[in-house]
Symmetry: C2
Subunit: 204 residues, 2 copies
Amino acid sequence: MGKKTYEMSKIAIDPVIFTIHDAKLKVLLHIREKSPFQGKKELPGGLLLGEERAEQTLKRKLKELVGSDNLFMKQFHTFTHPDRDPRNRIVSIGFVSLINQERVKDIVRWYDYNSLRDLAFDHKIIIEHAFQYLKDNLNSSVVKHFMPKHFPINKLQEVYELIEEKEYDNRNFRKKLINSGIVEETNKLEKGVSHRPAKLFKFK
Amino acid sequence: MGKKTYEMSKIAIDPVIFTIHDAKLKVLLHIREKSPFQGKKELPGGLLLGEERAEQTLKRKLKELVGSDNLFMKQFHTFTHPDRDPRNRIVSIGFVSLINQERVKDIVRWYDYNSLRDLAFDHKIIIEHAFQYLKDNLNSSVVKHFMPKHFPINKLQEVYELIEEKEYDNRNFRKKLINSGIVEETNKLEKGVSHRPAKLFKFK
DNA sequence: GCAAAAGTGTTATTGGTACACCCATGC
DNA sequence: GCATGGGTGTACCAATAACACTTTTGC
């Protein structure tokens, strides 16, 4: 065996935090203040500190970003291309995280998934990868992280449709959902709408 | 913000290479010659060289290990616990890889998934994680990597049953498989068996 | 002719899809 | 009273599950 160089690297996490607002899928991004990619948008990532595992780094960032470290979070891919950051080699572990819109304060920093542009580094690719992961792994215990405690069934259908990029028949959707036993009716009603108010449901 | 230390780390890949031999799921492992964990079994991992992406490192290792870099390979998780290697911090990217038994020469280095013991580092956890990934993502385009070009349907059923840890009704299995159009009959027959020889099928 | 695994059909049940109209509320 | 979205049932089709016997080969 010849001489080999085993390069050291910094390790980062890149959280792709999704929420749904006004029937749009949104991602939390920052505007870069420094070069490289000054003025472009980037994922709110961070480097692993001395003794941290990636999940701890993510929790620390989530607390800072959205005030809670108790969100859905799942690794979906690790990005290792040596030139992904033009300055240093940085390996980045991509996470998907989800938050319901009621807990989002600063909606201005959240950008439509469907019109992302001017992204720094390889972050557009990372976000698309994250979305694909979400789409491929969607189920009720994932979707619930988008929803407030009480919600109308039609809002839940909307979330499925947005992420799976297909439509459901409303009658069939309700039937399947209610028969599945994963939600239950409450005695609450939707408020402040100028039409028949929906019954609110919750996850069991 | 106080002063923080952003630790550097070596980056490794740990390939969990599965095959099926004598109706058993097997994993390729090495016996460690050096401390720590001398004499224990370990995954045939490797560090990323200077300009390599993880997938390139994996291909290099696969070539070395099984003589081919053209196998199924999929990242499933990245392991970042700071004490996972007692010597240095090493972040390891776990991959699942699959190879069909006809291409395996040195079956002695392959160990039954169901009776793994004396594993070095966190490699038992990594392997169990890999198996779970495989189980959760099994489908015909994954399974085909376990199969030789021509195979009896019952062998394919056996593979599904081993990995999904459940049984199929043979008639229903054949029906579904053949109707799905993903395999087709050949005019070859199984040889060297002391019972009715099976028709051989292949993937389309 | 016996042991061993291959191969084969029918019926019942379940789940999925398609489809159109009335209801409750705010303004 | 009109606009808006909420809420409801039935019929058809497709997929899945359950189940037992005959066939072909080697020895």
